[in-house]
Amino acid sequence: MSTWRPDIKELAKREMQTRPFESGHRLCAGCGAGIIVRQIMMAARKSLVFVNATGCVEVATTIFPYTSWNVPWAHNAFENAAAVGSGIEAGRKKLLRSKRFDGDPDIELDYDVVVLGGDGGTYDIGLQAISGAFERGDKILYVLYDNEAYMNTGIQRSGGTPFGARTTTTPVGSVIKGKVQFKKPIVDIMVAHRIPYAATVSSAYWNDALVKFRKGLEAEGPAFIHAFSTCPLGWGCETAETVKIMKLAVETCVFPLYEVENGRYKLTGPSLAIAKNPDRKKPVEEYLKLQARFRHMFRPENKWMLEKFQEWVDKEWELLLKKSGF
């Protein structure tokens, strides 16, 4: 499985034929989440079923009587998507064991469960259910699409919102300017559950992303993938620059790419290249300047914010380098 080389032409052809995720959904132009969903589906070998936490992806893809999903899809509530995944897995296990549907040509039980949650549904309100599922070892692939705020309810801060970012609940005021705290180290928190596989993904690097999604799907136990997801509306960036921003996040080490197999951290793709050749690491300004949510940080009196942001990125990067053996 680790030697898989995705053939993008072949996969695109398959997607066009089977259309597991239909176009015509109402995700915004330039939204990263639609790309993430497609990439998960391209990486799959088995049939997939999706569980979705409340959030942008859920509301934009299933406005009754329409649905974008040509695979089984369920949404229960905001904070419990992982628990739905646990229930489905348990039900499936028992049905397979009982052989109840053996020979029924209309029912298939050989599938993988993907649970999809935004940053709010993962860092904050959903953390308990994810932690429970991971502790139990339930075999689900949990994908966090991280657009770094509660976007569905109108751009409020979450535990995944970066330092300095302007959101509607962390406005740039005369005293407090944007979000005061840094992002919660969500991957480390998940890895601390001793799950067999965790990784970060930026869809701009599709090859890296597809390989990781497949590894996540085929892990022996729970897997967690933190997928970076540009949000033009919430971030104030150009819709056409989604891929560019997804790349810059990696090139500046704001969002490094790595995977953690059985607790072992390993840098991948461009992040590995930067580790080997530190000159390639770009300053954070290059990433921040393309987004209105950070605009205030570029005013002379707020220069300290840029410095503080860079400091945090450097420190986290150093930590990651150490963890991955550099």
Partner: protein, 412 residues
């Protein structure tokens, strides 16, 4: 409860929680997910023992909260499994959001709720504030009088849920039933197993996609379905009305399942929705729920011996609310006292009283209806107080404009 026929049953000394656990064990349940809370805990402990000893072939999901307990049961049922969970009081309150979602997605989960007072202040004893708070969530609610009925109701609940596509809550009073040992007639495993069968998967038609083909209503890559979408003002209202209409259509299903169960067990709960006791020529009756009614019936016997024309009616099914049956049954009495083991803060009387009184309002001749709120937080309702209620009802004069709502057994 009339005994129709004798079948081979074992008499077991079980408390109410154990009776439920036995029913679950025998009912071909595929997945159990649960989180402990007194006085429900014994249910999940017994089931864990059954599973760990290989006496029950189920997946037990040890969830990290009640919120996830109901959620995981929902997921399992969606995947095609028969799913059970159990809770009480604050656990049920934590599930509140998912109660609505389970009912509105028509996922047939069965849950035992061991009635307990809601915090604050924290109190582990019995009243009905928990399940009454869930009355509008779209679950069928069946209240048990004793451990035997908790056993019977749990078995029937699986069939009712799967045939109606509504989740079913079977309630039993905390400690009074859950922790009190009783002789329970337990059916043979295979009899229960045959009765409930394995989880049925309904087939539905989606003509625009699959033409005439009937596809299984479950999580299934062969025929994908989207469960729990966004539903805006253009459809939501209609869906809610349809849900309500469908709930009313569960009356005949509930009756039929009871009849079938009566045939195998010899225990028939007739009539199904409300059980009258010595009401034939009664002037005053007390209407209430669950274990309290055993004591009320005792008082009826005592008073009958003294020549008083009193009777009792125990409501078994609170949701759907059997208003038609009530109208038929209650119109002939002089006075009805409704027992509520729950307060509706700021309201005019308890929830049961409100519904009973409202059901009777349109009758040309209707009884006087008084409300008696009792037993909060496990407070005892002694016979002497029940006698006083009957005396009051027997001498009640024409209905006053303001409803009579009294607390029974509270210190002034």
């Amino acid at each position: 409860m009339a005994v129709l026929k004798k079948v081979e049953q074992v008499m077991m000394a079980l408390n109410g929680d154990e009776a439920v656990a036995w029913a679950v064990k025998q009912s071909n349940v595929d997945v159990v997910s649960a989180y402990p809370i007194t006085p429900q805990t014994i249910i999940v402990e017994r089931i864990s023992e059954f599973v760990n000893n290989g006496e029950m072939d189920a997946e037990f999901i040890h969830v990290e909260s009640e919120h996830s307990a109901l959620t995981a049961a929902w997921g399992a049922a969606l995947a095609g499994a028969r799913a059970f969970t159990a809770t009480a009081a604050n656990g049920l309150a934590l599930m509140w959001e998912i109660l609505y979602i389970t009912a509105s997605t028509r996922v047939p989960v069965v849950m035992a709720v061991v009635n307990r007072a809601l915090s604050a202040p924290i109190n582990i004893h019995n009243d009905h504030s928990d399940t009454m708070g869930a009355r509008d969530s779209g679950w069928i609610q069946i209240y048990s009088e004793d451990a035997q009925e908790a056993y019977d109701n749990t078995i029937m609940a699986f069939k009712i849920a799967e045939e109606s596509l509504f989740p079913v809550m079977v309630t039993l009073d905390g400690f009074t039933i859950s922790h009190t040992l009783q002789n329970v007639s337990v059916l043979p495993d295979d009899v229960v197993s045959d009765f409930v069968g394995v989880r049925r998967i309904p087939r539905i038609k989606l003509p625009r996609i699959h033409g005439d083909k009937e596809i299984p209503l479950m999580f299934n890559p062969k025929y994908p379905i989207t469960f729990g979408p966004l539903d805006l003002y253009d459809y939501y209202f209609e869906h809610k009305v349809q849900q309500n209409e469908a709930m009313k259509e569960t009356f005949p299903i509930i009756e039929r399942v009871h009849k079938e169960y009566g045939e195998i067990s010899g225990r028939s709960y007739e009539p199904v929705f409300m059980v009258p006791y010595r009401t034939e020529d009664a002037d005053a009756i007390i209407l209430g729920l669950s274990s309290t009614m055993s004591v009320v019936k005792k008082v009826v016997d005592d008073l009958r011996e003294r020549g008083k024309k009193v009777g009792a009616i125990r409501l078994r099914v609170f949701r759907p609310f059997p208003a038609d049956f009530l109208r038929r049954e209650l119109s002939k009495f002089h006075a009805v006292g409704v027992l509520d083991r729950c307060i509706s803060f700021g309201g005019e009387g308890g929830p049961l009283f409100n519904e009973v009184r409202s059901a009777l309002y349109g009758l040309p001749s209707r009884p006087i209806v008084h409300n008696y709120i009792y037993g909060l937080g496990g407070r005892d309702l002694p016979r002497s107080l029940i006698v006083k209620i009957y005396e009051e009802l027997l001498s009640a004069r024409a209905e006053p404009e303001v409803p009579v709502v009294k607390y029974v057994g509270v210190r002034e």
